[in-house]
């Protein structure tokens, strides 16, 4: 009894995505599939689900060979997947979502809602998922939506469940709850494949860890016999620095001052509601907070992308509250935006074009009315070399680069000038371990060169490691300030939930 992938090889025109990969999971076992972005995790799972047909190898479930290249075969054989991006209809109830595709039909074509509700309640009770069958999906927090996905999979009698980067969207508290659920599934005899690039989580939850690198399974380890360092080295192929090495901060003058800022979100809610703080040169200030507490709008407002309702933003002594994004940019801001593919890069543009995306209009890249592409290409080539961006040439579309290298393109573009203030929103989200190390080092380097640095991250670990001073944002206000050297992540986590509010 086991789910086995045997010697899977999948080739694409330019790359071997899976090279003779074998992986098995038994009932009542949790296997973590660990690997950087582009290591071949997704391809392997797409093979398992029949979305790709492998060039070599086979999938065997409980001794039966699976007919590949047919998605319904895997589901029928008892394999379920919880995707990173949920496949839920927001305006439907939980029960309606769960029975989508397997509607219990009464009479001619009426959906048997009673039976659907009972199905959800049964599963929810059995695995302690606490899901209300009548709640609308759009009203539910992300963590609960994920549990609805789990109910969906269980309602289809899955015996093997694949989780694709399940914790990426969860808060630290939700991650803990999620792990409890996964352990419950294990105790009930389900086989679990847990796909992740986060070392801690693999170590905490898995019975066995399989590491994938460049399409090959490079190691299988027992969590008890390994360490984060060893895992990271397996993933990246070289020793990796997991902590941020930095000296003590030497704060200087105030560079960024935010005073009683009030900002509305797209639905006209006061998402930022009277936030005040300062960032000095030579220090890294980290803003920790559960997503959706105004971080996004706060940054958008500072960089001029979103008007503020009240309050002031002062950069290097100049009130920039009413300034345009370009004026603010020119006052010496390096901004790594939250969503690099949406806001940071023009994906269909080349690496070179993206390197000059916010400096193209001036000397030396623009000469009067025309662009000087020779100079721009030269500069791009220099930045690619200097910032260790892995790309064959600078005239290929930036979309062909991996997530980490795309992020390095942005970092190179933003850091390669006289920077007074660095704003990094989720600077390492979806970035591989090797690039995280690199980007963190560059951020610290900016600090040491005298820049003020503001880092906003939903990864508490990142804020704890990087920041010289931690501010906690809750419901649009700064509710706490901590010294990362003398505070535990639990304390900060509690503040993120608003416990400090009187």
């Amino acid at each position: 009894m086991a789910l086995e992938l045997r010697g899977i090889t999948k080739r694409f025109p330019t790359v071997v995505a899976n090279d003779n990969v074998s992986l098995s999971v038994a009932p009542g076992e949790i296997v973590a599939l660990l690997g950087e972005n582009g290591a071949g995790k997704t391809t392997l799972m797409n093979v398992l689900f029949g979305l790709y047909s492998p060039d070599e190898g086979q999938v065997v479930i409980d001794g039966d060979h699976l007919e590949l290249s047919n998605p319904s075969a895997s589901i029928a054989a008892g394999v379920g997947m919880v995707h990173q991006h949920f496949m839920l209809v927001p305006v439907f109830t939980v029960a309606e979502n769960v029975i989508l595709g397997l509607e219990p039909v009464k009479g001619l074509s009426l959906i048997d809602r009673t039976k659907a509700r009972r199905l959800v309640t049964d599963i929810s009770d059995r695995y302690r998922l606490a899901v209300d069958p009548d709640a609308l999906i759009e009203d539910l927090p992300v963590g609960v939506q994920q549990r609805v996905e789990i109910v969906k999979v269980l309602a289809r009698d899955a015996r093997y469940i694949v989780f694709d980067e399940p914790t990426a969207v969860l808060t630290p508290q939700e991650v803990e709850e999620f792990f409890e659920i996964v352990r419950g599934l294990k105790d009930d005899g389900k086989g679990v494949i847990f796909i992740s690039h986060k070392l801690n989580e693999a170590l905490e939850i898995a019975d066995r860890i399989v590491v994938l690198r460049d399409g090959k399974a490079v190691g299988e380890v027992n969590p008890a016999d390994t360490s984060k360092e060893q895992l990271a080295e397996l993933m990246v192929g070289r020793p990796v620095l997991l902590t941020v090495e930095k000296s003590d901060a030497e704060p200087g003058d105030v560079v960024l001052s935010v005073e009683n800022l009030v900002v509305l979100d797209d639905r006209a809610h006061r998402t930022v509601n009277g936030a005040s703080f300062e960032v000095r040169s030579g220090e890294i200030v980290g803003i920790a907070g559960v997503q959706g507490n105004g971080q996004t709008e706060l940054v958008e407002s500072i960089v001029g992308m979103r008007p503020s309702l009240a309050g002031r933003v002062v950069i290097a002594g100049h009130d920039v509250t009413e300034h345009s994004p370009r004026q603010i940019h020119e006052s010496g801001i390096a901004h790594v935006p939250e969503d690099r593919q949406e806001s940071g890069l023009v994906l269909d543009f080349t690496v070179a074009e993206n390197m000059v995306l916010d400096s193209y209009y001036d000397e030396p890249y623009s000469r009067g009315l025309r662009m000087d592409w020779a100079t721009a290409t030269e500069a791009a080539q220099r930045l690619v070399d200097e910032y260790d961006v892995k790309t064959t040439r600078v005239d290929v579309p930036v979309s062909t680069l991996s997530g980490g290298n795309q992020q390095k393109v942005i970092v190179a573009r933003e850091f390669d000038r006289d920077v007074k203030l660095v704003i990094g929103s989720q600077p390492t989200r979806g970035v591989d371990v090797g690039s995280i190390e690199y980007i963190h080092a560059r951020i610290v380097e900016q600090r040491d060169m005298g820049a003020a640095v503001l880092v906003i991250s939903s990864e508490l670990d990142e804020v704890m490691a990087l920041a010289d001073r931690i501010l906690v944002i809750y419901q649009g206000r700064i509710v706490g300030e901590f010294d990362p050297k003398s505070v535990s992540s639990t304390e900060v986590g509690l503040a993120m939930l608003g416990s400090g509010e009187g």
């Binding site: 345009s324 690496v351 995306l357 916010d358 025309r370 662009m371 030269e378």
Partner: protein, 404 residues
């Protein structure tokens, strides 16, 4: 185009839409080959379907069918042969034919460029027709009422055309930038406004010939008529040169100029462009002015370049809509639009001869134009017919115009 000024420059033209693995590994020749392959195959397919249409509509041959099947089929095939021979002859068979092809192509190229430059900025300009009305009317007014020597008169009239079309297009761009009105809606509506305004104003004394009651203008002054290139008896005139210059200029604008960089950035990602400090609202207005200006020139070529130089109320004809097809066929690339315009010009000019000499309706040409576009828009279909591997064909997406 001549842009080998320096080596190693980025190749912004190569990724007009989407991206695929094949492009990364391919050389320049293959790249160009793929860009031409699908349109070429689409043309072949359209000719094939056109042949079937000619055959099944051959009434005489059908009558023969019961008695002599072979003879009937032979007659049908002969009909196809004659029709396509005449089509080719009418497009390329003589100096006059070539002149007609180029004459027909000139405004098509200009209007196609107008739509293409909009596509590049993520805007779907359906309003080339209305902008042709506006630009053509401005040029016509100058052509009727300003008395200047030809050397000055024609440039002044053409500048008026650019301004007229540009304002009409820029209005739609401004409405989008300022109020978020979708350009598809506004440009369609502005087409109607322009068409009926022209219908009205041609009947006023401002344009109408004295004593006439028709919605038709007085003859354009000699000095404003666009002079023929070859000889007086051939209709191809300097609007061909204007069109070719416009191709060069738009190519320079999009791929060499600073504002063209902004146009393309805004077209591919408005959000990233705004984050990079670009004024996307201004860009929408600006590109619609450029787009409208090009359509205005197409309008001027119809009001100042078409013997007998009296202008009727529907002078843009179907060019304003053909322009959308041309931009798609040319993959929103200026040089692609040039070739697409020449192809459509040849089809239309040849179609007239085909109708006269082979008795096949000129409407067949319209059907074939439509088929070409359908095949272009469905590359998977063309691939299936010709059994081309997916990696060799180019990406499906032609434009990001909708939903922006």
């Amino acid at each position: 185009m001549g842009d080998q000024e320096h080596e190693g420059r980025p190749d912004p033209e190569s990724h007009a839409a989407g991206n695929d693995v094949a492009r990364r590994v391919s050389g320049i020749d293959e790249k160009l080959g793929r860009a031409i392959l699908t349109p070429l195959l689409a043309l072949v397919l359209a000719l094939a379907v056109g042949a079937v249409i000619i055959m099944v509509t051959d009434v005489d041959a059908w009558r023969l069918m019961g008695e002599d099947l072979g003879g009937a089929l032979g007659e049908m095939l002969e009909g196809v042969w004659i029709a396509y021979r005449e089509l080719f002859r009418g497009a390329f068979g003589s100096v006059r034919a070539i002149s007609e092809t180029l004459f027909t192509a000139s405004p098509l190229i200009l209007a196609g460029l107008a739509v293409a430059v909009g596509f590049r900025t993520g805007l779907f300009n359906i309003g080339a027709r209305g902008q042709m009305f506006a630009g053509g009317l401005f040029a016509l007014w100058v052509g009727l009422h300003v008395d200047l020597p030809a050397l000055i008169h024609i440039p002044v009239a053409l500048i008026a055309a650019i301004i007229g079309g540009g304002l009409w297009g820029g209005l739609a761009g401004f409405l989008k930038a300022r109020f978020g009105a979708h350009e598809v809606i506004t440009t369609i509506m502005l087409n109607f406004v322009a068409a009926f305004f022209v219908l009205y104003i041609l009947k006023t004394s401002l344009f109408q010939e004295a004593g006439s009651n028709l919605p038709q203008s007085a003859p354009v002054l000699d000095s404003a008529r666009l002079p023929p290139i070859f000889a007086q008896q051939y209709r191809v005139n300097i609007s061909l040169i204007i069109a070719v210059l416009a191709v060069w200029f738009i190519h320079w604008l999009l791929f060499r100029s600073t504002i063209g960089f902004e146009f393309r950035a805004a077209g591919l990602s408005a959000s990233a462009s705004a984050y990079a400090g670009m004024n996307v609202s201004f860009l929408y207005t600006a590109v619609m002015f450029v787009s409208g200006g090009l359509a205005g020139l197409a309008g001027a070529s119809m009001t100042l370049g078409l013997p007998p130089y009296t202008v009727t109320s529907n002078f843009p004809g179907t060019i304003g809509f053909d322009a959308i097809a041309l931009a798609l066929l040319g993959r929103s690339h200026p040089v692609g639009v040039l070739w697409a315009g020449l192809l459509f010009g040849a089809l239309i000019a040849g179609g007239r001869t085909m109708q006269a000499a082979a008795g096949v309706s000129v409407d067949l040409v319209i059907v074939m134009q439509a088929l070409i576009i359908i095949f272009i828009a469905a590359p998977a279909l063309v691939r299936a017919v010709f059994r081309i591997r997916a990696a060799e064909a180019e990406p499906t997406q032609l434009t990001k115009g909708w939903g922006s």
